[in-house]
C-alpha cells in the first residue's frame, strides 16, 4: 500500500473548493487531489499515493517507472479489484464472491 505511482495530469478542476485533477497512470485514469501540489499543471507528472499528488516528477523518470510497474503487474495490484485479490489469497473463489455480493 506504500506504492506511489507516477501519473500525468489530463485536466484540473475546482470541486467544493478543492483542487482536483484527472490523472492518467499508463492507461488507468483516476481522480487525484492536488491540494499538496497546487501549482501542478496539465501535462505534468507527479507521484501519486492513494489519490493525492505528493511530489513532481520529470517526464522521463515517470515513463520509465510506469513501464516497469506495468511489466511487474504492480499497476494491476494497485488499481485492480481488491476483493478479488483478498478472496484469492483467502482461498475463496472470486466468482462466488461476486455472486454473493
Amino acid at each position: 500500500m506504500c506504492l506511489a505511482v507516477p501519473g500525468r495530469v489530463l485536466d484540473i478542476e475546482d470541486r467544493d473548493g478543492t483542487r482536483m485533477a484527472t490523472v492518467d497512470f499508463g492507461g488507468v485514469v483516476k481522480e487525484v487531489c492536488l491540494e499538496y501540489l497546487p501549482d501542478l499543471r496539465v501535462g505534468e507528472y507527479a507521484i501519486v499515493h492513494v489519490g493525492f499528488a505528493l511530489q513532481r516528477l520529470d517526464e522521463e523518470s515517470a515513463r520509465q517507472t510506469l513501464e516497469l510497474f506495468a511489466e511487474l503487474g504492480l499497476l494491476q495490484e494497485e488499481f485492480g479489484d481488491p476483493w478479488e485479490t483478498a478472496a484469492s489469497a483467502a482461498g475463496a473463489d472470486p466468482a462466488e464472491e461476486v455472486h454473493n455480493r
Partner: protein, 375 residues
C-alpha cells in the same frame, strides 16, 4: 547472476554491482526501512546479486505489518456494528485480529468497503448521511497527508457522519528504537524514498550523527536500491556517516511543505505500539484535539480494547532484523499467505510473504507439498 537480464537497464545494474563488489572489503549489515523496498529486493533477488559481505536486513517498514493487533481488533469491533460503513485500503482486509479479519466481518454481514483513496470514504459519507462512515487510517508519513487532508475536509464541509480510526506511524523514531536495541546489528540505513518525498530529510542528520550510521534516501525500483546500497557501502568503507539522497528525482530536502503543514495541524505525536515490537515513544500520530470529533476511537468508545499478541509468531524478531522469515518454525507450515499467523505474512510488502512468494525453495519440502499454490 541469474536475474540481471531482467533489470530495466542491465548494463547500469552491472556497473552498480561491479562498483559495490570493488568497494566492499568487509562485512556490512544494511537495513532497508520500507516494505516496498523489501518486496523489490526479494522479488528481483537483489540480496543474492550483492557480494556476500553485504547483508540486507528487512526493517519494519510495512505499515500493514506493524499496525498493532489491538487496533485491528478495534477496527473489527467498529466494522461489526449495525449502521456502520467501514472503509479501508484493500491490504488490511486479511490482517488477522483476534480470531478473525475484516474479510470475515464482511461475510458475517458487516458493511466493509475497500477504497482506493480516503477521499472515496468521505464521498461515501456524503452519499449516506444516515450511516456512520469510518475510514481505517493507517500508514507511514506517505499515507498520513492524504488521510489528514480527508479529516480536514470533513471538518471544513461539516460532514458529521465521517470519522477515522487513526494508527499512523513515523519512521525516524523507529530507526532510533532499532539503533538503541542492544541486539542491533544494523550499520547503515536505506531510508524510504516516498516517506522523504513528504517529510524531506531534515529529521535524519541528527540520527546519522548520534548513531554514526550512514542514512541513504533510496527509491523502490531495483536500480534505485542498487544505487542506495552502493552509496551506503561506500560511506561505510570510508568510515563516514552522513545523510545522502540517492532518490533526488522524487525527494527535495524540504519534502512537501504543504503536506507537512497539514500534518502539523491535523495530527499530534503520540507513543504507539508496533505489532511484534512493542511501544516506541513518539512513533505515531493521532488526531489533534481540534479534530477529536472525527476520531472513531472516541466516537465508538473502543479505546479500552487491549489485546495480547500470539506467542508462536516471531514477526517482532523478523521486523527488527533479528530473524529471517524462513528461520521461523511456523514459516510455510502453520503460517502461509492463506493462513497467516502474523501480519508480515499478509501484506505483499511483509518480509514473510515476500520470502514465501519468491523464495519457495526455502520452504521445507514437506511444507511445500502441503501448501497450496498462491499468487
Amino acid at each position: 547472476m541469474k536475474y540481471i537480464d531482467e533489470f530495466q537497464d542491465p548494463e547500469l545494474a552491472r556497473r552498480l554491482l561491479d562498483d559495490i563488489h570493488a568497494t566492499v572489503t568487509r562485512p556490512w549489515a544494511l537495513m532497508e526501512v520500507c516494505g516496498g523496498q523489501t518486496h523489490s529486493i526479494i522479488r528481483h533477488g537483489i540480496d543474492q546479486l550483492l557480494p556476500p559481505e553485504v547483508e540486507l536486513i528487512h526493517g519494519p517498514g510495512c505499515p500493514v505489518c506493524v499496525t498493532p493487533l489491538e487496533v485491528i481488533d478495534k477496527a473489527l469491533e467498529i466494522a461489526s456494528r449495525p449502521g456502520v460503513i467501514f472503509c479501508s485500503f484493500g491490504d488490511m482486509l486479511r490482517v488477522p485480529g483476534t480470531g478473525r479479519d475484516l474479510f470475515q466481518v464482511r461475510g458475517e454481514g458487516g458493511d466493509v468497503r475497500v477504497v482506493y483513496s480516503p477521499l472515496d470514504a468521505l464521498r461515501i459519507a456524503r452519499q449516506n448521511p444516515d450511516r456512520e462512515v469510518v475510514f481505517f487510517g493507517i500508514g507511514f508519513e506517505t499515507t498520513a497527508p492524504p488521510n489528514a487532508m480527508t479529516v480536514h475536509q470533513a471538518r471544513k464541509l461539516g460532514i458529521q457522519n465521517f470519522s477515522m480510526l487513526v494508527s499512523h506511524v513515523r519512521v525516524p523514531p523507529a530507526i532510533e528504537a532499532i539503533m538503541s536495541s542492544p541486539s542491533c546489528r544494523v550499520q547503515g540505513f536505506l531510508a524510504a524514498g516516498h516517506v522523504c518525498s513528504v517529510m524531506g530529510v531534515e529529521e535524519y542528520p541528527e540520527l546519522a550523527e548520534r548513531f554514526r550510521v550512514p542514512i541513504v534516501v533510496t527509491g523502490f525500483e531495483p536500480l534505485d536500491i542498487l544505487e542506495g546500497v552502493r552509496r551506503a557501502v561506500r560511506q561505510l568503507e570510508r568510515g563516514e556517516h552522513t545523510v545522502d539522497n540517492a532518490y533526488a528525482r522524487a525527494v527535495r530536502p524540504e519534502g512537501n511543505p504543504a503536506a507537512r503543514a497539514m500534518l502539523e495541524d491535523v495530527f499530534e505525536v503520540t507513543d504507539r505500539p508496533w505489532r511484534g515490537i512493542g511501544v516506541i515513544p513518539d512513533s505515531g500520530w493521532r488526531l489533534s484535539p481540534k479534530y477529536r470529533d472525527h476520531d472513531a476511537e472516541h466516537r465508538f468508545s473502543v479505546g479500552g480494547i487491549r489485546t495480547e499478541e500470539p506467542a508462536e509468531c516471531r514477526s517482532g524478531e523478523v521486523l527488527q532484523g533479528l530473524l529471517k522469515p524462513h528461520e521461523c518454525e511456523a514459516f510455510g507450515t502453520l503460517c502461509t499467505p492463506r493462513t497467516p499467523l502474523g501480519a508480515t505474512m499478509v501484506s505483499s510488502e511483509g518480509a514473510c510473504a515476500a520470502y514465501y512468494l519468491y523464495r519457495r525453495l526455502d520452504v521445507p519440502a514437506a511444507a511445500a507439498r502441503e501448501a497450496s499454490p498462491v499468487v
